[in-house]
Symmetry: D3
Subunit: 242 residues, 6 copies
């Protein structure tokens, strides 16, 4: 099984080879692609919009290259429904997958993320995916995506405090609200356990890769009724994109 | 007051000067722009994705040129939330506006549209805008967007029959599900009245232009809390777009 | 176009000629009527009940006199569904209209109003209109309707503080919860902007008058399926009312 | 315990002495009052509006006369929230009570009623009381209220057929949608049982009288927070009403 | 009319003869049964699971012995849907009944209970019964069920404070969240009234017994469509249970 | 990784060694346990109730024996929340897992099952898990669980027809509604594809085993806040059970 992670930005190296290797399982290899055109990082709907055309091209190429499933590496799930019109293999959004799983393990999930400006995007995803009654809200560390790695200690400490506050306010499950937080689960879990809260904390990327394996193993993909294959068209101005 | 209609396709002339003139009101002028790059017509999420980058640029330009409000001329509301991050003037989606108004005039609205493949997109908009309890479903004439004008009589007759079926199945208000149906309201209304159903039939474009006037007159625009102004970034591969 | 505002009380002069004039637009005249019988002001469901019979008579008369639309001048939307059974021209409720519009501009609206005792009435309207997921709650200045004008400075300052608190607690749009607050938008907007919150603040009466124009221009009215014309009956004890 | 049934019409004798007697229980007497002013029967929101002022006066009088609870004898629950602002004793609506009980005995209830024109009123009550997910819809015999007694056999046969259709379409509980159907339960139950459907069929008046006893016995009434006592005001034009 | 209260524990005497007597009404006798096997008290889903098999046997026996209705004496409503498959007489859950009634008297109910660990069970019942929009949350005194009687003064004072906090946070009706609190209503009501809050406080057992009378008097029971009679089977390991 | 499937019946051999082997993956072994006491098959809530006590004991033993996750092998998810109070390792319900996954692949899922009498149980699970807006309903082949294997051809043909009907009525994803249907996916998929419907068809057991692997790999289990560890108690009559 081959899972291709589409990192929907043009910045190389944000998803390192070591990280990709750590996501492999027996019988499952994971590779990553970045975009030929688009944003350096995703922190707004505008950033998402400039990413999707190149994601479409990357998705087609990955399917042609033998990928069995695609994972979109951004908690805004940019282009999720769009890519499903383009390929027949399953396309997974990390937000959709994490919310679906967290809702089976807990009554109400909270999200800890980078910036306050992405909170309304989670509101919209929660509405779209049908989890309004399960959503306990969102808190953020106020650190831009491209600074996460440089300020990792501060970020982890902040995420832990915000997760704790969400649990005290009624969440009983936590989702990391940015895929740049890969690997931050342990610090948060430890802090919550120290306060007596043994709740699931979900790291979206590894969970979604593993869920992709479930779909592949079971021959499942998205419904072609709700996500029908799009007609091939030529798009003016994008001649150089393919 | 100046309202700019963003026709999110590259096909010139679909929104004629006569149509634009018919949308003007005392104190309100309406102009239209098409896109420099993108799809010839919008019939899928992929088409939408290739339209949005050029819509962003068109929106900025329209604001700079003195527009007081923008209307997106497509029932999928492509780029609606995205454009709201780009400009401070109100941006209106015809689907969002029509659904909001129809829900105040009736208990359950139905939609008549072009192709079955856009029905799932309405499901998603209905969920996102919070009208699940008010939505009576969608029926379609199975005619592609670019053929509407050539097959207008067939289209109008089909829309009327489908609207009638929706009302018989519980809808008590109808929304035209494609802005290419501009002007088709009368035939449908007549057919429904002949069967004893006096229900509102909404033509999205004129209703939305008029609603734009309401927002302008009252100094209203979208919330900057939910649609915060995006940071200016350079997007690789889009250097020639602006 | 002629819009008649039904002021559902017997107190003359609460809606001044200057105010009515300020609501006119090119091509749109606005007139007001008060009631021959009913309450001096509306602050309870009982007050509403004593207003509706005279509102029915006033609505019939206004339609006969050539009104193209009716606006009910009270945030409880008293008699809204009832009047729709009486006339064919559109009848607009200021609460229904304001909530519908605010829900298109923001994710969650809050209401600032006169008295705590009307808060449960907003709960009921919110449920009826289908906005439960969009409602962030209600706060009040604790001033009776007939004292608003005398205590205007206190009222405006109070509304601004309560609006600010609602936004801090999660609202990203504000609706003035009493039509007696006409003109108070600027003070509130200024206070919110000073704290960094650029959110829409809706003044129900001018928004609803302008929305009435949209309906008239587009030949729209309420559904006769959900609001069927009522049969003419004689009502014992109301012989002198007509 | 004394329960007063407010028959919200001016027609005398529709609720017979025998019927009232049949509603009494050990320790519970039931009396009825009709209105001094208002409609002859209730078949529209307008009819309701002309009933409520006299209902307010009748409610006050009944409380003064020693009633322990009030029941409103009409499936539109006219004036329910209004009367709760007027008296401290519990006021019960037959629709609200029947829906609440039926939802505890079944998954989805259907309503059989008099005229199609009241169906939208049930939609509104269902939304207001929070039963949207439990409502399987409404069917009607197309007989006006004042003709029920004259055409009783036809009415009962029709109700049974419509109830059967509702159950076949997914209802598993039935509510009689007009208090004029008092006593029609047996015929319907028999017909449903003959087709193999053993589902509850609720007769609103006796169920609500009995529920009133529950409230009285337990010292319960409506919340004064959501239904606060209204201020005493004089209503112009209603001087002769009290 | 005979109502049998199934006390779903093996501890004798928790529901005293005096209490049972106090629940009788003219024409209604109330008796109680405890279980031959199961838990000493119910404070978890596991406790519930060990109670239900013996409840099934007790329910069958009670019906055979002439009971007209059954009431399950535990606020988790253990075995409610299960027992409805076993007997034809109505089976009432105290949580389901109390929530249904409180939702007719108030806009939002809160629950005061024994232990924090049962709060998630109320979440699940609220979802199952369809009251999510009406639920204001739960607070607890942190006293195990079997210690309630020994620490009654502390319990009552604690319940009153927690009820007060729930009302201050938006509840306008209160339900006692454990049937062991029988008789605690007056202290709570008094405390709330002293703070100006005149809201209903529901004591689940007497309310549910009285509601059982309503069902019996009206010949009502649960729907056999949603709760079809189960097939008689032999259960391995339970041979000695019947 | 070791996953233990709890087959919640006393009938040996229903889950064959070959089936268990087919569920294994690289790094994942799957074993099955049946119950020492309880029902021969599960077709009602009563059957479920007699299964849960022995399931609790089986779950504890499996955890002690080194299981890393438990899967309950019945589409009613009997004892799901209960077992989560007993063990710290993840406990998965096949209905909860299948619904969560199907809701990420499609807009509305339908269920094909054994008997009409279990349809109301799915209604309850759908409400509890929060999928009401995603549920397109249930159809059944009318074959008892223990006859599935004997009548396999008839069962498969029936499932395919019912799945087809559900899709025609609006479902765009299908879940097999009984774990006894293991392996029936292909026939149904083929039939749907032949009619032009390329929609996901979910086989609950393999999907849930694979999802268990996801949880194990990511160190996830249910929230201890919503499913707190139960106190150890002795249960009268169950002395011989452990």
């Amino acid at each position: 099984m081959n899972v291709t992670i589409i990192v929907p930005i043009t910045t190389e190296g944000l998803r390192s080879e070591d990280e990709l290797k750590s996501l492999c399982q027996p019988g499952l290899t994971v590779s990553g692609v970045t975009l030929a055109s688009g944003p350096a990082s995703i922190e707004s709907r505008v950033d998402e919009a400039f990413a999707v055309p190149a994601m479409i091209i990357a998705a087609k190429q990955a399917e042609k290259d033998g990928a069995d499933a695609l994972v979109i590496d951004c908690m805004g799930d940019p282009g999720l429904a769009t890519l499903r019109e383009v390929v027949k293999i399953p396309v997974l959004g990390v937000a959709q997958t994490s919310m679906a799983i967290c809702a089976t393990l807990s009554h109400k999930f909270g999200i800890v993320t980078v910036l306050g400006r992405v909170a309304p995007l989670f509101d919209e995803l929660v509405a779209l995916y049908g989890h309004k009654d399960r959503y306990a809200g969102c808190r953020w560390v106020d650190v831009p995506v491209l600074e996460i790695h440089k300020r990792m200690d501060e970020v982890q400490a902040g995420l832990a405090e915000h997760a704790l506050q969400l649990v005290r306010d009624g969440a009983d499950g936590i989702i990391l609200g940015c895929t740049g937080f890969l690997g931050c689960v342990d610090v948060i879990r430890k802090r919550l356990l120290a306060e007596g809260f043994d709740v699931p904390v979900l790291d979206p990327i590894p969970i979604t890769v593993s869920s992709a394996a479930t779909l592949i193993q079971n021959g499942l993909s998205h419904s072609q009724v709700s996500f029908p294959k799009c007609e091939e068209k030529r798009y003016k101005g994008y001649e150089s994109f393919s």
